[in-house]
Amino acid sequence: MGRWTSIAGGERHVFDSLPRLLAVASPRRSGDELAGIAAASDAERVAARFALADLPLRAFLSEAVIPPEADEVTRLILDTHDATAFAPIAHLTVGGLRDWLLSHAADAPALAAVSPGLTPEMVAAASKLMRNQDLIAVARKRRVTTAFRSTLGLEGRLATRLQPNHPTDDLRGIAASTLDGLLNGSGDAVIGVNPATDSVPNAMALLHMLDDLRARYDIPTQTCVLTHVTNAIEIMRRGAPVDLVFQSVAGTEGANRGFGVDLSILREAREAALSLGRAGPSGEVMYFETGQGSALSAEAHHGVDQQTLEARAYAVCRAFKPLLVNTVVGFIGPEYLYDGKQIIRAGLEDHFCGKLLGLPMGVDVCYTNHAEADGDDMDGLMTLLAVAGVHFLICVPGADDIMLNYQSLSFHDVLALRSMLGLRPAPEFEEWLTRMGIAEPGGAIRPPELAGSRLMQLALEAGHG
């Protein structure tokens, strides 16, 4: 076990392990304070960053933050590390990696080429030396494209998950929220419902309703019921129309066990979904959610800071070629991310780390009522992420998720982002919006009550009203 020292601010600081160095270098957040691993002072935090800047990237290959014998995520990270891709940056320190990422030499192809050579810990470490501006600038260069019925992640596009949740899974209620979203131009990444009751028959009823809706109106998007992966396997066995298999994942084996999953069950689920033959040639059939703090919440954090563990969750995600990944950044509560400042920082870190590791990284820009945050903070984060080229954002009617009792973005928010920044929906979906009379040719969404859109008429005629 190594020791790292820095002389900074007139004092000598010693960090006796790699997890400790990473934790102390992290921007302040309540979750690390709760775990008792945060910097004791602002000066100590910056001193750790000086020490971290000098750490060779190779150190992460010889010293795991969680021992491989204790954790299958560590083994996955080490076993899948691509030494050839790593070679061009193998000589760098963490500070050197930060500089290279920001340099104009690190363009889109260069960043894509190096992705398989980066470990989550390297990326997390670099992020701790970067300002919010740096996280945005680098993520913006790293486009990740995925495709199913719609093509996501293209330059100049901003996609959305339409999240039409209902507290009792009422099919008409979910259909009503879905219709509202579609009429506002949302839903090109996925129409994804969190079920209130996590059972196989309930999820199947929801899946059939969503798939009927999608097929009837020929909507170029995917549907998903965010039920547990073991339920999804059973649902596929029973022949229900599963586009995407969903699962929440975390950055340690123990935390994943808390979610009731391991790598082998995810592998089994992916193979089952591929065998349905619904996906495109790229075979992107998985949808993952993550979020800082989940490992601490599961008491499986091994003394590692929550942002490094979050980046390790992305190693789990990328092993299964997902169509979509998002961090549910403000959902977990103020004991992990206390206020708007911490939520905004974490959202930018998660997006940066996910993109750099090659993931189709989206964000649920959100907050709970016991956090020190409000809609103004979300306005900031959504704008920063849209500038950073986020893969997709989640939105719900009027920003109010009436089932999960938290606030995400609204359909209106995404309309505003697309207007302000000149961003457009996924191309297939954009064409569909025009065909249905929801968008004017050229892209502007028409007010649904005036549009006389075909979708609204069809929905009412078909009894969905």
């Binding site: 709760l34 039409p164 009422d170 929220s177 509202d180 016991h370 109010d400 009436i402 309309l415 505003a416």
Partner: protein, 252 residues
């Protein structure tokens, strides 16, 4: 854009959900009444999180039962929100009589003192009526409290069961929802999987206090009979069907 009348289709769709659908807008923004309505809902939820429990009012609502008082290690709301571990540990509580009891009720502020203020005393009284012959500890009012604080309180009272009536995290539509967590043989270190939960007790279409009490009493009897709570105890009883059952003494 001129103000358009609310179109008929949205009225029909709104009957199926209380989601904020069909809002209309000004440019890309929602109309001002929607914006202010949303801000008011958020303000009520935040006030529910931050408002202190009115302990004298709750004491009065619990009469003729005299309440005991307990406080967690969290000294204030800010610390409480950041440090759930402190909210689970007892700083102190009033001395209680010797001899143990079948059940102790803890009325805990949790994340919505408003919920406890409104719904906890009615649930407590409805339970007591249904528990003839039970040895019931004086109700304990606990402040800056998380669910697990009930473990230490229950252990100090020598309770076979502890029922923690606690304010749930407020949502935009319901800032005053009460939850109940029942734990067999409470003691520090009990896991959440060792508890049964009844949630969504409130007046806006949630579970009514009498029905919540009927369900809780049923769970309490099952817990004492089977000597456990948590994932091993299925709580699929229909509260409405339980409401008509006669009160019974505790299983030995």
């Amino acid at each position: 854009m001129a103000e358009a009348p609310v179109p008929e289709p949205w009225a029909r769709l709104r009957a199926a959900t209380r989601a904020r659908i069909g809002l209309g807008g000004v440019g890309d923004a929602p109309p001002l009444p929607e914006v202010l309505g949303f801000q008011m809902a958020h303000a009520l939820a935040r006030d529910a999180v931050h408002a202190p429990l009115d302990v004298p009012a709750l004491e009065a609502a619990l009469r003729p039962h005299a309440a005991l008082h307990a406080a967690s290690m969290a000294p204030d709301r800010g610390t409480y929100l950041r440090r759930p571990d402190l909210g689970r540990r007892l700083r102190g509580m009033d001395a209680a009589g010797e001899g143990g009891c079948d059940v102790a009720f803890v009325l805990a502020d949790g994340l919505s003192a408003t919920a406890v203020q409104r719904h906890a005393a009615p649930v407590f009284h409805a339970c007591v009526e249904r528990l003839p012959g039970w040895r019931i500890a004086p109700p304990v009012i606990a402040t800056q409290a998380r669910v697990a604080l009930g473990d230490e309180i229950g252990a100090r009272l020598g309770a076979r069961l502890v029922a923690v009536l606690i304010g749930e995290r407020p949502g935009l539509s319901v800032p005053d929802s009460l939850g109940i967590y029942l734990t067999f043989e409470p003691r520090p270190g009990r896991r959440d999987s060792e508890r049964n939960c009844i949630s969504n007790i409130h007046a806006a279409g949630g579970l009514r206090p009498e029905l919540a009490a009927a369900k809780l009493v049923w769970l309490m009897r099952e817990a004492l009979t089977r000597k456990l709570t948590g994932t091993g105890l299925k709580d699929d009883a229909d509260p409405a069907a339980l409401a008509g059952r006669p009160p019974l003494p505790p299983p030995s």
